[in-house]
């Protein structure tokens, strides 16, 4: 009710100049598509940017692909609901996995010259494992694209008063156009542009919100007094019998920090594809590590405003009040004047497009290379697959619009994501990591590892949600433990199955397993800021320092 009234006021506040900003942004988005159109000659250009981009571009795209409207609204909603502990998603739930991906796994992904993550699965294991990976990825991409559309619709409806059907179709049409024109390069260029617009839109909002609450120290004092000390602390109440909504220390460190986060960041082709577009092995390895640096500070523009909103927006999250998911839009409405408001609205729309485009541009590659070329129509010309990829892009966007309605039925979008990741990603991660480091893992073991791991995660969920045998503090807490179950069962299955089967020969495994690498690493000659190991360690140190800094507040 409240938001609907505010939205009416806001619509009047959005000046003609602010609309012009939004229009300018859309013109640039399409302009990038046309500019890059000339560079798309082969399917490799369309799906992998011709493996030609510098590391700073792929690195920022890597982080921007994960900075969609869903993440921004979802993380600020989680912060308002669960408190400061949401930083775990970033400092332990992302940075270590990104560093691991760059240092340890990227030499195999990039060095083996596979064109997608599922393709690695096919070469390392067999077609059964490949099919399960490719098809679950395609389904998840379409679902997530729908979730992004839904998030956009809520923002546009609240802020601009534009009917959500129109907002969905219009924005989806823009994403479709620029990907059709410029392929992955277009998606990546736009992601980098979006990254800066998102920052320009949200930083002023955070500055005002923090000033209004009297500084971060005062905010933490006020929320601590109101919601309990654990609410403003990352680790308080994570011991046995504690009340931290994120659950226990073991669940956070092993479940989120290892299983879920490694599962997400190291196997998600929407992310890894950005690194595969890099121009060299070293640039590919640097991609997630360059992304780790902004990732460390993203909580300042998502979690911090979410917590400020709890103080500044009366009735946030209460029945009849503003929903948690609208914490940032409500702050924008209350505090941003003309000009800054236009940039912030553009930033949120940009964030939606980043999320949607990342899913569409990875979906079309996996659909074309891994499903169509592998199983339906193999051995055609490259021009044919380029054409299939363009058609798949259109189909992906259309289906994404349809799945937006599925997303509308879930209250907290973040939780919904976590559930999905537990089911798909952790079993895939355990299969990849064992495949990369244990030569003995057999062709057939991958499929069984994924199957049993997924069933483990699903079983944990069912026995918590529907047949209440297991007890957890929250859905998040359940998802961490579901990840651990999936990891352990998946690993055990791969080992057991491998013991009973004939291993692959060295020739079949060249480039795919440790000890049989194809890469040539000349890291020693580069300046330290171009080397993955020192830069990766640097981002871990910053993340650790921020945990310490926050505990002192």
């Amino acid at each position: 009710m409240l938001l609907a009234q505010e939205a009416v006021d806001l619509r009047l506040d959005l000046s003609t100049w602010d609309m012009l900003l939004l229009g300018t942004y859309f013109a640039f988005v399409i302009g990038i598509g046309f500019a890059l159109k000339r560079a798309v000659k082969t399917s490799g250009d369309f799906f992998l940017s011709g493996r030609s981009l510098p590391a700073w571009i792929t690195g920022l795209a890597f982080i921007s692909a994960n900075l969609g409207a869903v993440e921004i609204l979802g993380q600020s909603a989680s912060a308002a609901e669960y408190g400061a502990a949401v930083v775990h998603y970033f400092w332990i739930g992302a940075v270590p996995a990104m560093v691991f991906l760059g240092i340890v796994m990227m030499p195999f992904y990039y060095g083996s010259r596979v064109r997608s993550v599922p393709e690695f699965m096919r070469l390392r294991y067999d077609r059964k494992a490949h099919l399960i990976n490719a098809s679950t990825f395609v389904l998840a991409s379409l679902l997530i694209a729908g979730v992004n559309l839904f998030a956009l619709a809520t923002v546009i409806e609240a802020l601009l008063g534009l009917p959500d059907e129109w907002a969905i179709v219009l924005s989806a049409a823009f994403v479709l156009t620029y990907i059709l024109l410029g392929g992955l390069s277009s998606a990546i260029y736009n992601e980098v542009l979006q990254f800066f617009v998102i920052l320009a839109g949200l930083i002023p909002l955070v500055i005002i919100a923090v000033k209004e609450v009297g500084g971060i120290g005062a905010l933490f004092d006020a929320l601590g007094a109101r919601n309990g000390e654990a609410f403003t602390s990352a680790w308080e109440g994570t011991g046995p019998g504690g009340a931290n909504a994120f659950g226990d220390v073991f669940g956070i460190v092993v479940g989120l920090g290892f299983c879920l986060s490694f599962g997400y960041w190291t196997t998600n082709f929407a992310e890894v594809q950005r690194a595969m577009a890099a121009k060299s092995t070293n640039a590919a390895r640097m991609t997630p590590i360059i992304g780790a640096y902004p990732k460390v500070f993203i909580p300042l523009i998502t979690i911090l405003p979410g917590m400020c909103a709890l103080v500044l927006i009366p009735g946030l999250g209460e029945s009849g009040g503003v929903e948690y998911n609208n914490a940032i839009p409500a702050l924008m409405d209350a505090y941003l004047p003309a000009g800054a408001l236009g940039v912030a609205v553009t930033g949120l729309v940009a964030a939606f497009m980043a999320g949607m485009a990342a899913n569409v541009s990875s979906f079309n590659a996996v659909f074309t290379y891994d499903l169509w070329e592998e199983y339906v129509r193999p051995g055609r010309s490259d021009a044919y697959y380029l054409w299939v990829g363009r058609l798949a892009t259109v189909a992906g966007v259309v289906i994404g619009i349809g799945t937006a309605f599925i997303a509308a039925n879930f209250e907290n979008i973040s939780n919904y994501f976590q559930v999905l990741f537990t089911f798909f990603n952790v079993p895939l991660f355990v299969t990849f990591i064992i495949g990369m480091f244990w030569k003995r893992a057999t062709a057939g073991a991958g499929f069984w590892g994924i199957l049993v791991g997924t069933l483990g995660a699903l079983g944990t969920y069912v026995f918590y949600k529907f047949i209440p045998v297991l007890e957890f503090r929250s859905d998040l807490h359940e998802s961490f433990w579901g990840g651990i179950v999936a990891f352990v069962l998946g690993a055990a299955t791969i080992v057991l199955v491998s013991m009973r089967q004939q291993p692959k020969t060295d020739d079949e495994l060249r480039g795919l397993v440790r000890g049989l690498e194809l890469r040539d690493m000349q890291e020693g000659e580069l300046a330290f800021y171009r080397r993955p190991v020192p830069m990766g360690v640097g981002s871990l140190v910053i993340a650790a320092a921020l945990y310490v800094g926050m505990s002192l507040l």
Binding site: S43, Y189, V192, L193, I208, Y335, L336, P337, G339, A340
Partner: protein, 101 residues
């Protein structure tokens, strides 16, 4: 990317390709968008009413964020001009032995 011919590219061709490469460099896009945003938003800030400034916790946020965006935009353009894009040596760069099977 000029058409593939057997003739050596002339200096005029090279200059034209370099001009296009600069125009279509990502830093040009980011830089010019931020310059436009910076100018528009700081003008909105400069003409903001007292009421609007009071709304934003007594900070003229549009003016300041507009000027900051202008600076970032000029920075990107300067970076592009200081380190222009490097053109591929030959126009075989898009061909890769492993891009098709």
């Amino acid at each position: 990317m000029s058409d593939r011919t057997d003739q050596e590219p002339t200096d005029a061709d090279r200059a034209k390709v370099l001009r296009l490469a600069k125009l279509f460099d990502l830093r040009t896009f980011i830089g010019s968008l931020f310059v436009i945003f910076g100018v528009v938003v700081s003008l909105e800030g400069a003409t903001a009413s007292a009421e609007e400034i009071a709304k934003a916790s007594d900070i003229n946020i549009s003016l300041w964020s507009g000027l900051a965006m202008l600076a970032v935009g000029l920075g990107f353009l300067a970076w592009m001009l200081a380190q222009p894009p490097v053109l591929p040596a030959a126009d075989t760069s898009m061909e890769r032995p492993d891009s098709t099977r």
